[in-house]
Symmetry: none
Subunit: 203 residues, 4 copies
DNA sequence: CATGAATGAGAATTCATTCAT
DNA sequence: GATGAATGAATTCTCATTCAT
């Protein structure tokens, strides 16, 4: 009985397993520098065998990135639809982002490093689209925050947007899941720096 | 005589010119994805001809990165040796960094994207070394700042270090020299966010 | 009991069915360009499953071609043994050929396109042998026809042989069974052209 | 001086030389079955080296076929524009065709065997276009011939067209330039058979 | 200094085939 | 009988690099 369950579950599992392996290798060495052979080696099979499961190396990144982005946007949309104030929205988005980094570190790292080149291909148009929604979400919240006097009026909002965006996502390049800080803890620290600064207040 | 002078002067100039071209292409497409042919095309010559000037593709990045780092450290060392307080040191380092981004945007972008894998090769050991000095300079200043109560005592200093470091350098990926903001202006804005936060203070 | 009968009968039927499918695909795309997977797809199974029925892709063409040639030679031998005059023999051979094209269009097309390279392998020696018998039958009949003054004395007989042979078999490349002309009708037209020419006679 | 001439001429010559080699191999083994390595071997170089001269295997056949068709149509257009009667037009077209077979045997053989598959790709649309012009030229001439009572009224003209077309071009599969018959001689014999038939006339 | 031509070591991908289930 | 997964050899193509001219 258990066997049946396992078998039933194992159909998509093999795929997922291989994609996780691929994501790890892509993240470590970069998409271009990663050979299909290396992925296969890591997965314990021959290069050609990967093609039973995937059409191409490209379709592997594709599936990795789109799966990640789907999940990311589920989280983001929940936050954005929750009717929070600007500061709380930023806090929630940052926290959600670190949770995603925790869950999909490899995918995030790939997204960081490769999305620019990949987005040039029609197949990856959704990367550009995601980028756009991203900007809209963060920039909009910042602008609302300035309007509602939650954020400083003297900020260059576009600069602040880039600052926030990069600050959060670059973390994927050094973050190691299972380390001493939980994603929530890191988010709290980041938010503290971003919102209140690192300088002691001159009161 | 003039000719000799011109010739003498133009030899390194040609080199520099080609390196600038190469840096631009490396920055735009990534080191691996950049073919020697593409660099040559951009420079208006054939791929093989580049080998009159350089030993290899690798030696091109090498020269690009080491030239950049040499200049960077000249600036950093001046700042670090000036006997400034922690906050002023951070301000000066950030400003200096944005000036470097302004002057060597391509080199900085390459450094960002490629230094991790390149550093694995002995030839690029200086990248790791630079990284170390980097960390020492920033982390040390932050720690001094906490000790001297210039920076908040409740910070995770390592986290703050990464935060600062990434925040500054990632800018190379979107910065365009000759835009509306001078590097000093951008530095001022960044520092304002980093030091005082983006939130309105509750006075 | 009935089941056994059906099963007994359906074993070779399934084989035939699969061979027909394979022949169709081979004819449409060429032997080399046809993947086992494509045959299997067309037959509604997976590539590996074909290997329950056949040893190899090669053995599929083999069976297709040899089955066809067996039947062809049965017809030819009947004609050649019937004691007809040269003109009548040619007429009968041409008619028989068009009937074969009608019945085994795919096999004929494969034979046309692939027999040359296949014949290089020992396994397909019978193709060369068939070729030889072919030449003997047609060339012999033509020579007999010239001797008996049924055919023009001024012909280059070898040329005429190739002319006839090609003329007939190439038809397999455009012939569609079930079209407006019956094979006998097409044979009649071909024979009319071949025997009497297309020009109006100047009498 | 001679050297300069040779050098000046050798630029396109190398290309042509390689294309001739490629055409020969394609014709002998089929486009698909021909590996790039084999072409390179025959040309005395390594497979990769071919890519200095050509973009792809496909672009090699492309150039082979289009060069051939260009020349063919030059000849055909001259014939078609000469204002000849139907019979003379057919005679001239057939003769011209055998001359082309003599000059471009390999290209013709490739055209015969591969144009059907190749024509499916947009890049080879000109094959379909050529096919169309072809049909128009031959079929038109035949119809005119019937109307002007040069050709028999009881012919199925479409059948006669295919008959003529195949009859002529298939010759490329066995024709060897430099054999005992000149192309003009072969054309004469073919025309004699096609126009007047192989049977002795009942006077 | 630069070109044209080639090398040779991979790279991604394809495919006939095998085999345990 | 058929499936799913894998193998391994071959194929096209890429690219850094070399070198005679």
């Amino acid at each position: 009985m258990k066997k049946t369950q396992v078998a039933a579950a194992s159909v998509p599992d093999r795929r997922r397993e291989l994609l996780d392996t691929a994501a790890e290798v892509f993240a470590a060495h970069g998409y271009n520098a990663t050979t299909v052979r290396r992925i296969a080696d890591t997965a314990g099979m021959l290069a050609g065998s990967l093609y039973y499961h995937f059409d191409s190396k490209e379709s592997m990144v594709d599936e990795i990135l789109s799966t990640f982005l789907d999940e990311l946007w589920q989280g983001y949309d929940a936050v954005l639809g929750a009717g929070l104030g600007p500061r709380e929205t930023i806090e929630a988005l940052v926290t959600e982002s670190f949770r995603e980094i925790d869950r999909h570190r490899a995918a995030v790292a790939i997204y960081q490093k490769e999305s620019r080149h990949l987005a040039a291909q029609p197949r990856f148009a959704y990367l550009t689209e995601s980028q756009r929604k991203f900007e809209q979400a963060w920039l909009g919240t910042l602008q609302r925050g300035v309007a509602e006097k939650a954020f400083r009026a003297d900020l260059d909002v576009r600069l602040a947007y880039r600052f926030l965006r990069d600050t959060v996502w670059v973390a994927a390049s050094w973050y190691r899941p299972g380390g001493q800080h939980s994603p929530e803890e890191i988010a709290r620290q980041y938010l503290s720096m971003v919102l209140d600064g690192i300088a002691v207040r001159d009161t």
